[in-house]
């Protein structure tokens, strides 16, 4: 699943439009992921300029 490290995230939205599923949304000053839509492909983790996103194994 996708983990958003909120303490790192700069709320810039660079990740939003590389998401092939449209699972990410920047709402005002926080980033959200729709876990039901996210396919954990990890593309967004590359777009992030500061490393706030990571695909981690599900517990």
């Amino acid at each position: 699943m996708l983990t958003i490290y909120r303490e790192i995230c700069g709320y810039c939205g660079a990740c939003v439009s590389v998401c092939p599923e449209g699972a990410l949304e920047l709402i005002d000053a926080y980033l959200t992921v729709d876990d039901g839509v996210c396919i954990s492909c990890g593309l967004c983790t590359k777009a992030c300029p500061i490393g706030a996103l990571e695909v981690t194994d599900e517990e």
Partner: protein, 398 residues
């Protein structure tokens, strides 16, 4: 907030504000919404714009101009510099804006012209009826309501969610999304009338690092690299931090800016029934420079003009709005976008050695004009041995 307008503009950046301003000036009822609580903040921009382009829209005002840029330097991987000097060329370079004030000014103009402005108001879904866009469901402080409109203008920036919700694929491939980081740095010894562009695989692979004068002893220092080139430990911020340590270790960072910059071709179609898409959301950023403010304003204005005509004629179908899409493609802006896309696609293939060679070939040349075209022409003239590969470029610029 009324429940119905002629035009609903989603996004309060320069594209949306100029669209709202022009539509309101023409007498339409206009609503512009911005999801952030403030117009112009947080910044997600290096803030550079060409002087001529800016003046087409608004008279330059010292209140929102941070620096008057008179020359630019391209710095090749081996340190070779190519100077582009306004004084020598007799042409104008540009300004570095203060977007926090500039964006407010544009929205203020829209408001003065009669547009209703709502901040902290976010579109959450389009209103779709029989396949046509009829406005948006918006949310303000937890309350949802419908705003219906004859024409909706999506000016929601790089994220471009609204058009996507309307069924238009705005997804960007990683290689065409520049992952960017920038610091506003103060307390540094720079020429604040100069914009520097550092090139090369070490400093900014397939992108560039910029130092844009931002007033006395201050600069926007930032970098963009394709998201496809980023790796853990080698992200935009890592490259920027390394550059800062090497060049401006004593600089004081007073603002952190992050963002994505689309450097793809524009969307294949920027209209649908009841909908027009402008600015970064339409992917009309210059793919070579990454600059998007001017083109956002151009498309915003053209979209407003099309909306005025379509609403007067009582037809806001895709066919009726198509003149907007065809209009900007046929205009100078559309032609430059296509040219610069091809030029970018060539430049990202260059090794550092090749970049050094090309830079050395034109270093010291007195450019009579400061433009991509002038630089390309000179590169082509001075590098006959690369004629074959430069031929494509030559075909593009004529």
């Amino acid at each position: 907030m009324k429940s119905e307008y002629d035009v609903l503009v989603i996004g309060g950046g320069p594209g949306g504000a100029v669209a709202a301003w022009n539509a309101a000036k023409a007498g339409l009822s206009v609503c512009i919404i911005e999801k952030r609580p403030a117009i112009g903040a947080p910044i997600r921009c290096a803030e550079g714009i060409g002087k001529d382009l800016l003046k087409e829209f608004i008279e330059p005002d010292p209140r929102w101009i941070s620096a008057d840029i008179r020359w630019a330097r391209l710095i090749a991987p081996d340190g070779t510099t190519v100077d582009l000097d306004e004084g020598r060329a007799g042409a104008e370079v540009g300004y570095v804006l203060d977007r926090k004030v500039f964006d407010r000014e544009l929205v203020w103009k829209a408001s003065e012209a009669g547009a209703d402005v709502f901040v902290k108001t976010r579109a959450v879904a389009p209103i779709m009826e029989e396949g046509r866009v009829c406005g948006a469901m918006v949310e303000f402080c937890g309350k949802r309501r419908e705003i219906r409109a004859k024409v909706t203008i999506a000016a929601d920036g790089v994220e471009s969610k609204f058009a996507r919700w309307c069924g238009i694929d705005t997804t960007l491939p990683l290689r065409e999304m520049m992952s960017c980081a920038q610091y506003l740095v103060t307390g540094i010894d720079i020429d604040s009338s100069c914009n520097d562009f550092y090139l090369g695989g070490e400093v900014a692979p397939q992108g560039y690092l910029w130092v844009f004068g931002k007033g006395e002893r201050s600069a926007n220092i930032g970098i963009g690299i394709p998201a496809s080139k980023a790796k853990p430990g080698l992200r935009a911020k890592d490259y920027l931090d390394r550059f800062m340590n090497e060049h401006y270790p004593d600089g004081r960072i007073i603002e952190c800016v992050f963002g994505g910059d689309p450097v793809s071709r524009p969307l294949p179609c920027t209209v649908a029934d009841g909908l027009m898409i402008v600015g970064d959301a339409a992917r009309v950023v210059d793919p070579l420079t990454g600059g998007g403010i001017g083109n956002a304003m151009i498309t915003g204005k053209m979209a407003a003009e099309t909306a005025v005509k379509a609403i007067a004629a009582g037809d806001t179908s895709k066919a009726a709005l198509m003149s907007y899409d065809l209009g900007w493609r046929d205009a100078k802006m559309g032609r430059i976008l296509e040219r610069n896309y091809r030029v970018k696609e060539y430049f990202i293939t260059l090794s550092d050695e090749k970049m050094n060679t090309l830079a050395r070939s034109i270093a010291g040349f007195d450019f009579s004009e400061i433009s991509v075209k002038a630089i390309l022409k000179e590169i082509i003239t001075r590098n006959p041995k690369f004629l074959l590969e430069l031929k494509n470029l030559r075909d593009v610029i004529v």
